[in-house]
C-alpha cells in the first residue's frame, strides 16, 4: 500500500496529460505545416505491387467501389465497415477487384494530377487561439468580437490590409457561416448591431 503513494507515482494531472510528440505550438508565429498533397501517383505506383493498393485509394474509393476492400479489412481499420462480409469466393473476387481498382486508380490519378497541377491547397493546422477574454464555454462573444475586430481593422487599415487577415481567419473559424452571412447582409444594409 505504501508504494502506491510513492513520490514518483504520477499525479492525476500528469496521468491525464496529453503526451504529444506532435505537439505544436500553434500560438507561435510559425505553425507547423501539413503540406500534404501527397502525390497520389507516387503513392499508388509504389504500393501497386503490394496488395495494399486499396489502402492508398481507399479514401477516394469509399465513394465509388467498396468491392476490393475485403482483403484490406484488417489493414484499414476505420473507414469501412461494409467490408466485413466474409464472402466464400474472396480470392477470385478480390483479385478481380484489385485490377478493377488499379484501373480506377489510374483514372483517379489523372484527375488528381490535373487538380494538383491547377492548385495545391496547403493545409495548415491552425485556428483561432484560445482567448483569455472568453474563457467560458459560451463563445458567441468571441466570434462576434473577432468579426467586429476584422471589420474595424479593415476600416482603419484599408481593404485587404495584411494585418487584418488573421482576424478574418479567426472569425471564420469561430462563427457559423450562417451568422457571417447574416452579419454581412446587415452591414450592407447598415443595420449591423455592433460597433464598427
Amino acid at each position: 500500500m505504501a508504494e502506491a503513494a510513492s513520490p514518483n507515482s504520477p499525479s492525476l494531472a500528469e496521468q491525464y496529460f496529453v503526451k504529444e510528440k506532435e505537439e505544436k505550438t500553434d500560438a507561435g508565429p510559425k505553425p507547423t505545416e501539413f503540406k500534404e498533397v501527397e502525390n497520389p501517383k507516387e503513392a499508388a505506383t509504389q504500393e501497386a505491387a503490394v496488395e495494399k493498393t486499396v489502402e492508398a485509394v481507399d479514401e477516394k474509393a469509399v465513394e465509388e467501389t467498396p468491392t476490393a476492400s475485403e482483403e484490406s479489412s484488417e489493414a484499414t481499420p476505420p473507414a469501412e465497415e461494409q467490408s466485413t462480409d466474409p464472402t466464400s469466393d474472396a480470392p477470385e473476387v478480390s483479385s478481380d477487384a484489385v485490377t478493377e481498382q488499379s484501373s480506377g486508380n489510374t483514372e483517379e490519378e489523372n484527375v488528381g494530377d490535373q487538380v494538383s497541377a491547377q492548385e495545391t491547397p496547403e493545409i495548415k493546422l491552425e485556428t483561432a487561439p484560445a482567448d483569455f477574454r472568453f474563457p467560458t464555454t459560451n463563445q458567441s462573444r468571441h466570434c462576434f468580437t473577432r468579426y467586429v475586430e476584422y471589420h474595424r481593422c479593415v476600416a482603419a487599415k484599408g481593404d485587404g490590409a495584411p494585418e487584418c487577415d488573421k482576424f478574418a481567419k479567426y472569425y471564420r473559424s469561430l462563427c457559423p457561416g450562417e451568422w457571417v452571412d447574416r452579419w454581412n447582409e446587415q452591414r450592407e444594409n447598415g443595420t449591423f448591431p455592433g460597433p464598427l
Binding site: E22, P121, I123, K124, A128, P135, P176
Partner: protein
C-alpha cells in the same frame, strides 16, 4: 479466415452494444477521468449500500413482532443522532472534491486548439463546417451528415448510429468543437469522447477535446429536438494527423477548383 477470429481481438468499444451496462471505452483524457471518478464514487456507494442494508435487515430481523411483541419506547438518542448526521454529510464532501476538480478541468482550455470544427444541429441532420482553411466567407468546407436509413444499412453497421458523412478529425490533436443549432435546441454527445454539449440557438458552445487514438466514435443527440430526434446520430472518425491533411484537402480541392472554374467561365 482471419475475419473469423476477429471477435477475439481486444478492440476498444466505441459504440453502444446490446445490453450494455458499462461505459464505452475512453478515447479522451476527459472520458478517462469520468470513468475513474465513477469507479471511485462507486466504491463509497457500495460501502454505504452494504452498511445501510445491514442495519435495515438486522432491524427487521430482530424486531420482528413474534420475537419482540412489545416494542421499546426509545424515541431519542443524542449520540447516534449526531453521528448519523455528521457522517452522511462528510461523505458527499469527499465525493465532491474530485468531482469538482474533474468538472472544472473539463471546461478548461489548456492549450490553443489546432482545429476548429463547427457542429451545427438541424432538424434533423447535422452540418459540419471546417473553416480554418478558407480565404473567403463562402469557401468553407461544409457538409451535411444524415443518418443512414434502416433499409440501407450494410452488414456491420449500427442501426440509427451510422451517418453518410462522418466528421473527420486528427487524433492526438487539440480540437475545438463549436456546437450550435440552426433551429431548435440540439445536443452533440459522444460518450467515448466524454462529450455532451447542448446546442442552444444563438449561442456557440465550445468544447475542447483531444482524441487519443484513431477510431470511429458514435454518439447521439441528447436533447429532445423534435420527431426525428432519434435519427440524428454523430459519427466522429479520428485519423492519424498526417492523414488528416489529405482528407481535408481531398474534400477541399473539388470545391475550390469548382469555384475557380466557375470564376474562369465568368
Amino acid at each position: 479466415m482471419k475475419s473469423k477470429w476477429l471477435f477475439l481481438t481486444i478492440a476498444p468499444c466505441d459504440a453502444a452494444e446490446p445490453w450494455q451496462l458499462g461505459f464505452q471505452d475512453a478515447a479522451t483524457p476527459m472520458m478517462q477521468g469520468i470513468i475513474d471518478l465513477h469507479h471511485d464514487i462507486f466504491f463509497f456507494l457500495i460501502l454505504i449500500l452494504v452498511f445501510v442494508s445491514r442495519i435495515l435487515v438486522r432491524a427487521l430481523w430482530h424486531f420482528h413482532y413474534p420475537k419482540n411483541p412489545i416494542p421499546q419506547r426509545i424515541v431519542h438518542g443524542t449520540t447516534i443522532e449526531i453521528l448519523r448526521t455528521i457522517f452522511p454529510s462528510i461523505i458527499p464532501m469527499f465525493i465532491a472534491i474530485p468531482s469538482f476538480a474533474l468538472l472544472y478541468s473539463m471546461d478548461e482550455v489548456v492549450v490553443d486548439p489546432a482545429i476548429t470544427i463547427k457542429a451545427i444541429g438541424h432538424q434533423w441532420y447535422r452540418t459540419y463546417e471546417y473553416s480554418d482553411y478558407n480565404s473567403s466567407d463562402e469557401q468553407s468546407l461544409t457538409f451535411d451528415s444524415y443518418t443512414i436509413p434502416e433499409d440501407d444499412l450494410e452488414l456491420g453497421q449500427s442501426r440509427l448510429l451510422e451517418v453518410d458523412n462522418r466528421v473527420v478529425v486528427p487524433a492526438k490533436t487539440h480540437l475545438r468543437i463549436i456546437v450550435t443549432p440552426a433551429d431548435v435546441p440540439h445536443s452533440w454527445a459522444v460518450p467515448s469522447l466524454g462529450v455532451k454539449c447542448d446546442a442552444v440557438p444563438g449561442r456557440l458552445n465550445q468544447i475542447s477535446i483531444s482524441v487519443q487514438r484513431e477510431g470511429v466514435y458514435y454518439g447521439q443527440c441528447s436533447e429532445i429536438c423534435g420527431t426525428n430526434h432519434a435519427f440524428t446520430p454523430i459519427v466522429v472518425e479520428a485519423v492519424p494527423s498526417k492523414d488528416y491533411g489529405s482528407r481535408v484537402s481531398n474534400q477541399l480541392i473539388p470545391q475550390t477548383t469548382g469555384e475557380a472554374e466557375a470564376e474562369m467561365k465568368e
